[in-house]
Symmetry: C2
DNA sequence: GTGCGCAAAATTGTATACAATCATGAACAC
DNA sequence: GTGTTCATGATTGTATACAATTTTGCGCAC
C-alpha cells in the first residue's frame, strides 16, 4: 500500500504518533502492535515500522519479544515504583531550578498549558488531559534549561502514563487536583524552595493514588496469561 | 560478506561492541561510522548495522545526521554540564540506598571491581580502566535495586566517557583518586549518609577536573569544522 | 590559477524478497 | 472426548535491490 496523505511519514513521525496514542491511552498496555498492521494503516513499509518500534522499545513504551512481536508495555509493580523513585530524584530539584530561571512569558505559557488541560478534561477527553498534564512536567525541565534531564523526564512521564493506565484507582479525582496551579504560583514568585517542595508532594500524591499491591498484574488478554 | 566467527552477531551484540569501544576510547568522538564499513568488518548486513547505530543514537553515543551518516557523538560543553547535573541528582541518593541494602558478597564484588580497575591502569590500559571505573557506578545502582535509575546512569556514564575524551585536562591524575575506595568503606559500614556525601563530592571532583571553558569544541577533523 | 557547473561515485533511505520462527488447527491414536 | 503430531499459515528476522541524496572530482570558462 502506498502512502496516501501528503507527508511521507518518516520513522520519527510514526514514533511520535504511537507515543502520543499510548500516552493518551488510546493504545492500552498489552496491545499487540503487528508490523504488517501498522505498515498497512500508515502506508509505509515494515522497515519504517520496525525503526519506530525499536525507538518505542528504547523508551520502554513497547516491549519487543523476539519472534513474537511488539506489545505496548505493561510495567510491573516494581517498575512502577522505580519510575516514581526516579521522578522523585529528578523533578523536585528541576522545579527548583525552573523557578529561579522562569520568565513571565514562560509563566503564561505554563498557565495556558493548564487551561488547555482543564478544557480537555471538561470536554471529557481524559486521555488528552492526561497527556497535557504530563507535558506540564516536561515543560518545567525545559524551562530549567536541562535538555538531558528533560529527555529522562519525558521518558518517565510516558511510562507513568502506562502505569496510570494499569494501576490507577480513582480515575475521576486525579486531574482535579490543583497541584499544578500551586506550582505555577511558586514559579511566578521565583520561590524555588516552595516549588521543590510542592513537586515532591505532588509526586508522592500521584504515587499514593496508585494501587500497587502485589497482585501479579492482570493481563488484558487471557492468551498472554498462559504464554 | 558472510559471518566468519561462530556467533551470528545480532544487533544487540554489535551495539554492545561499539558501546564498549566508545567507552574505552578506542573510537574517538567525531569518528564516522560508515554503514558499509561496519557491515564488512563484522560480516553482517547493513540492516543489523543500522539497528545498532539507531540504538547508539538513542543512548546519545552516536549522532545520526540524515543522509550524512553516523558519527561518534561530540558532547558540547553545555551537554557536559547537563550530564553531570543529572548524575548529581541521581547518584548520591542511589549510593545512599545501596549502602543500606548492600550485602557482604556485594561489597566483595565491588572490591574486586576496583582491583581490576587498578590492574588495568597499571597495565597501561587507560581505556579499560575508565570503562571499569564507570561500571563501578553502574554496579551501585544495581545494588540499590533500581533498574530504571540504573539504565539512566548507564547512559550518563557512557556519555561521561565521551566528555572525558573531549574535555579532560590532567589525564594521569584521575584514576589514581581513591574516591571509589572511600565509597566502598562507607558501603561496608552501611553508612548511607557518608556514601551519599562521598558520591556527591566524587562527582564534583570529576566535574572540576574538566576544562569546560567555552571555546567552541575543537572538531577532530577540519572538514567537520566547516560543515 | 581560481571558481563554477555538472557528471560520476559513494553513501544513506526505503521497499521488497526470502529465511527462520512461531501460532493455528486438523488428523489421528488411545 | 482428550491429547499428541504434524502440516499449514502467519509473523518476525535478515539480506538484498533499488531510489534519493550527498560527496567527489573533472572540465571548462574567465
Amino acid at each position: 500500500m502506498t502512502n496516501v496523505s501528503g507527508t511521507p511519514l518518516t520513522a520519527d513521525l510514526l514514533f511520535q504518533k504511537l507515543e502520543l496514542a499510548i500516552h493518551e491511552h488510546r493504545l492500552a498496555p498489552g496491545t499487540k502492535l503487528g508490523e504488517d498492521d501498522l505498515a498497512d494503516v500508515y502506508g509505509v513499509s515494515r522497515t519504517i515500522v520496525r525503526a519506530a518500534l525499536q525507538s518505542l522499545s528504547h523508551e520502554r513504551l513497547v516491549e519487543l519479544k523476539r519472534n513474537k512481536g511488539a506489545f505496548v508495555a505493561q510495567p510491573s509493580v516494581q517498575e512502577a515504583r522505580e519510575v516514581f523513585e526516579a521522578r522523585a530524584l529528578l523533578e523536585p530539584r528541576t522545579a527548583y531550578s525552573a523557578a529561579e530561571r522562569i520568565t513571565p512569558a514562560q509563566v503564561a505559557q505554563l498557565q495556558a498549558h493548564i487551561d488547555a488541560e482543564h478544557k480537555a478534561l471538561h470536554a471529557g477527553d481524559h486521555g488528552r488531559a492526561l497527556y497535557l498534564s504530563g507535558q506540564f512536567h516536561i515543560d518545567i525541565a525545559r524551562i530549567a534549561d536541562q535538555n538531558t534531564i528533560q529527555a529522562m523526564i519525558t521518558q518517565l512521564i510516558s511510562r507513568s502514563s502506562l502505569i496510570i493506565a494499569l494501576y490507577w484507582q480513582r480515575r475521576a479525582a486525579m486531574c482535579e487536583s490543583h497541584a499544578h496551579d500551586a506550582l505555577i504560583s511558586a514559579f511566578a514568585d521565583h520561590d524555588g524552595a516552595r516549588a521543590e517542595e510542592l513537586m515532591k508532594n505532588h509526586l508522592l500524591d500521584l504515587l499514593t493514588s496508585l494501587d500497587l499491591r502485589n497482585k501479579t498484574s492482570v493481563p488484558l488478554s487471557l492468551k498472554d496469561a498462559l504464554a
